[in-house]
């Protein structure tokens, strides 16, 4: 019988209709460094949030050292000994290192007065132990990401954490900083602390971890010693599923080149070049933060950039979304609720929002013509709503997304950029969105598709560019498509 420090029993978590975790039962052995692996949307983040108490599972139980943590607050769970170090640590930026480390559990004289001296002494002792040296009085906002993570480690150690979770800690660290972090994690292990380490970087996992646990589509797949795996086998297990044959794209004749981007750079992107032809769907694959959304923002006039874009043989340098829209480039944005729909407006008003100019007669928007456009789009995209007057906030995610498609379709665009168009949408609505996309290219509209879902990219795209850290790392032709080929190009260390 293995000695588990923490056990999950039959954990499920639902968000509305979406199941993020499905009947997870597993345990993490004491004193080891565990890796947690899975694609975007596999359920890793939900698992971390459940362990740290920020979210409560819909069903099941979590046992930490023989005690259920389910009914405890995040603070109580932290006091029990579970700490989490996030990619971008959540700290009070204008308070000092010392104050942040002891936030919520300050030493007090007589139960009231803050005892800075005592805290300082304790912290200095801890710094000597760990050889993490930071000025206790520096403001957090003056520290870099790596140092802020060190603050989190000090915080975890100062509260006698027994189980520490690292959520993609290295994604914004340099190599040197990563090495310092790894040494700290290894010395935590020597102190008997159990570590759960989440990362996409294969090399790191093989260097640091003892065991690996793999998640896929909200399900627990397997756990084993890392020595049992090769990098290839890990990727294979992460992908797992077969490419669904539930969707086939219609064959569309692809026309001449319509857009070509040459060496686009922004604060984030570096020399991004790609080409798009009429009626073509090109995909951008990459992990979160690879720079896909930034490409979309440049094309839609939201971000400034250097480099050149030719669109229908003319220089294209959009200054605003309105400018892009007038030239025939539109965006179905990543965050539907914040960027896509106006929740205080109804279906008709959302659909006609970018089209009011076209609907205008002299000064006034014709109500009949407006309703006509709304009704036509509702029928064409099969939007399920009680009527044009229903508020979009009362629609399902899939139907909200169709409203966003509808408002743009009515502008008769030439290029549609789709940023995670099926995120948070159930399978049935997904298939409908794919049908809509397929219809669009048949009408000669070109599509740029940013997606984290491999099957989606493979099913829809004619060509795929892979991105990492703001750069294009490769491109694949439809004949070369496979999840493995794409993931390998994304994950591979350069």
């Amino acid at each position: 019988m293995a000695d588990y420090i923490i056990q999950l029993k039959d954990i499920s978590k639902n968000y509305g209709g979406i199941q993020a975790l499905k009947d997870i039962t597993l345990g993490f052995e004491r004193g080891m460094i565990h890796a947690l692996l899975g694609e975007n949307g596999a359920g890793k983040s939900t698992l971390i949030r459940s362990l740290s108490g920020v979210e409560k599972p819909t069903k099941g139980d979590i046992i930490f050292e023989g005690k259920s943590t389910l009914k405890l607050s995040p603070k109580q769970i932290h006091d029990l000994g579970i700490s989490t170090v996030y990619q971008e640590p959540m700290q009070a930026p204008h308070m000092s290192v010392l104050e942040n480390i002891y936030l919520g559990r300050m030493e007090k004289k007589g139960g009231v007065w803050i005892d800075k001296k005592k805290m300082r002494e304790k912290l200095l002792r801890l710094m000597e132990d760990t050889e993490i040296y930071l000025d206790p009085d520096t403001g957090i906002c003056k520290l870099g990401t790596a140092q802020r993570q060190m603050v989190e480690i000090l915080k975890a150690l100062s509260s006698d954490a027994k189980f520490v979770i690292f959520d993609e800690p290295t994604s914004s660290l340099t190599n040197d900083e990563t090495e310092i972090l790894f040494n700290q994690i290894k010395s935590m292990k020597k102190r008997g602390i159990t570590v759960l380490y989440i990362s996409h970087r294969m090399a790191e996992i093989f260097e640091l971890c003892d065991r690996v646990t793999i998640f896929r589509d909200g399900m627990y797949i397997e756990s084993n010693y890392l020595s049992e795996y090769t990098s290839d086998k890990l990727i294979q297990t992460m992908i797992g599923r077969e490419i669904g044959d539930w969707f086939y794209k219609k064959e569309v004749k692809i026309g001449d080149e319509i857009l070509s981007a040459e060496k686009i750079s922004t604060g984030y992107l570096k020399d991004v070049s790609f080409k798009l032809r009429k009626g073509e769907i090109i995909g951008f694959a990459g992990l979160v933060g690879a720079g896909r959304t930034e490409v979309a923002k440049v094309l839609f006039g939201l971000d400034k950039f250097t480099g050149s874009i030719m669109f229908e043989n003319e220089q294209y340098h959009p200054k605003s979304p309105r400018d892009a829209m007038n030239k025939g480039v539109v965006l179905v944005p990543e965050d539907r609720k914040i960027e896509g729909v106006v929740h205080t407006m109804n279906v008709r008003e959302n659909i006609t929002l970018p089209n009011l100019k076209a609907l205008k007669k002299v000064l006034f928007v014709g109500r009949k013509r407006e309703a006509g456009m709304g009704r036509e789009m509702m029928e064409r995209l099969k939007i399920k709503a009680s009527g044009l007057r229903q508020l979009v906030s009362n629609l399902s995610g899939g139907n909200q997304q169709k409203v966003v498609f509808a408002k743009w379709l009515a502008t008769e665009p030439k290029i549609m950029i789709l940023d995670e168009p099926t995120r948070g949408i159930d399978v049935g609505a997904k298939a409908e969105i794919y049908r809509i996309i397929s219809d669009l290219v048949e009408r000669g509209i070109s599509i740029i598709l940013m997606s984290s879902e491999m099957p989606e990219l493979i099913a829809l795209c004619d060509g795929i560019y892979t991105m990492k850290d703001g750069k294009i790392t490769g491109s694949l032709d439809r004949r070369e498509f496979s999840e493995k080929a794409i993931l390998t190009k994304i994950i591979e260390e350069d």
């Binding site: 605003s320 979304p321 309105r322 960027e339 106006v342 205080t344 008003e349 929002l353 100019k357 109500r367």
Partner: protein
Amino acid sequence: MKEKSKRLAFIKNASQYYGLIIILILMFAGFSIANKNFFTLDNLIAILKQSSIYGVIGLGMGILIINHFYDLSVGAILGMSGAVLAMITSSGLPVVLGVMAALVVGTILGTLNGIGVAFTGIPAFILTMATTQVFRGLVYIITGGMPISGLPDSLLYFGKGYVGILPIAVVVMIIVYIISYIFMNYTETGRNIFATGGNSVAARYSGINVKWTVILTFAISGFLAAIGGILLVAKLQSAQPAMGNSYEMDAIAAAAIGGVSLDGGEGSVLGMFLGAIILGVINNGMVMVGFDSYWQMVAKGVIIILAVGIDVYRKKLQS
């Protein structure tokens, strides 16, 4: 069939005003019982006349709140516009010129607030609190802190005259509300104001020029404050440098009572009208019943809490 669905839609639309109409009826009933003279044609017209000034400013404020902003300086803009009108007309220049100048000044001050909010990122609350000081200070500077009287008869007629049975101020208010109703419901810009207030990011992502919309809304509010200033000068037959002080509170109150959502994106011109009338009924009725002005303040405060509280509760039920 079609006729029927249309009528149903109208009832559905009207239902959002039931709460306000019920409050109005209750207040009418209560004040009528307490004082026989309350429910007379003369007094009803007096209520409309009393409501006209903050009805007009409240409309501007309401449109701003729909756009998810505030302008605390409308009282000071009103004071400035009134002072400009009085100074020009008392010096013998034509009244038309004075009115035009007052409207231009009000619009410019509103526009300045709008530009400040749209381009600096300073919260509207703070920025307009500061410009209140600036504008009010300027009113004292240009007037030398003295009231301006000796206004021409034609301007005074504006304050005393009638169109049929309605005072001119009431006619002005009604015209302003009708134009605003059409503007907010049937023009692209009106729709953009709703969209920007409901979700400014999505509005921008839908090709709306959000900054321009914000500036325009502040300009409208400034313009309407200037109309309020003109009405007030005509009514008082002079311009006082402290004129319009704290009117922004009544303006916000009228909009809030009228069901304009403080989260932006929701509200209606008709609701704002009812809000202004309710405020007028409170002011008038409490005097008629014999409460002093201190109790009026208390009553106004309580009504605002009730009106907005009901709105918050209704939204909670919806979600």
